[in-house]
Amino acid sequence: MSALETVINLLSWFFIVSGSVFVVIGAVGTLRFPDFWSRLHAASITDSAGMILLVIGMCLQAGLTLVTVKLLIIGVFLFITGPTSTHAVANAALVTGLRPPEGEGLTGAEPEPLEADGDDNA
């Protein structure tokens, strides 16, 4: 019985620490990426990978109680609405004229004309 608890604790450690790592990676990408579309990609890492791993880790800590049911409800809700709102932001940006940079040699260092376009409509 104690061995089972140890295994569950270790699994929970693994899930929560890797979820934290994904959350920090997504936030660093959101802050540091050069252009809006890559920032969108980085922000959705938090919504999918980090959230799922953290919720699974908390479920393992909670055991079979009502808390796990609430966590699963939160997880399913965020799993549906996170990509939906990311898609809504991307669609709104695309409709108002913000375009991803294309072509050779684009390092994202100079996205000025595109962002000026977006500022026009903002």
Binding site: A27, L31, T81, V89, V95, G118, D119
Partner: protein, 97 residues
């Protein structure tokens, strides 16, 4: 282990706030607000586990609902300059003509 998650979520929230402050376009800011809301939901849940009161999950669930509806409402407002009957107005005008 929840201390690790709390610190990671706190650092991530500060970084996303930096993007919210610096974001050149409106959509960067909307994206940062949405991401900040997701971080807040996870933060409230982890804080509940850390302090031994998992009842905070109700607040986290409510925050997730409000965050999603708020993001969609902000986007719809900036797209149509109206929250309620954005699609209805032009057709009414056409019918009036």
């Amino acid at each position: 282990m929840f201390v690790v998650a709390v610190f990671a979520l706190f650092i991530a929230m500060v970084l996303v706030l930096g993007r919210l402050y610096a974001g050149p376009t409106l959509y960067d800011r909307v994206l940062a607000v949405n991401s900040f809301g997701t971080h807040t939901v996870l933060f409230i849940g982890v804080i509940g586990f850390l302090t031994g009161r998992p009842d905070f999950l109700d607040i986290a669930l409510l925050y997730a609902l409000i965050n999603f509806v708020g993001t969609i409402a902000i986007l719809k407002y900036f797209r149509y300059r109206a929250i309620g009957d954005a699609h209805q107005r032009p057709t009414d005008r056409e019918i009036g003509h």
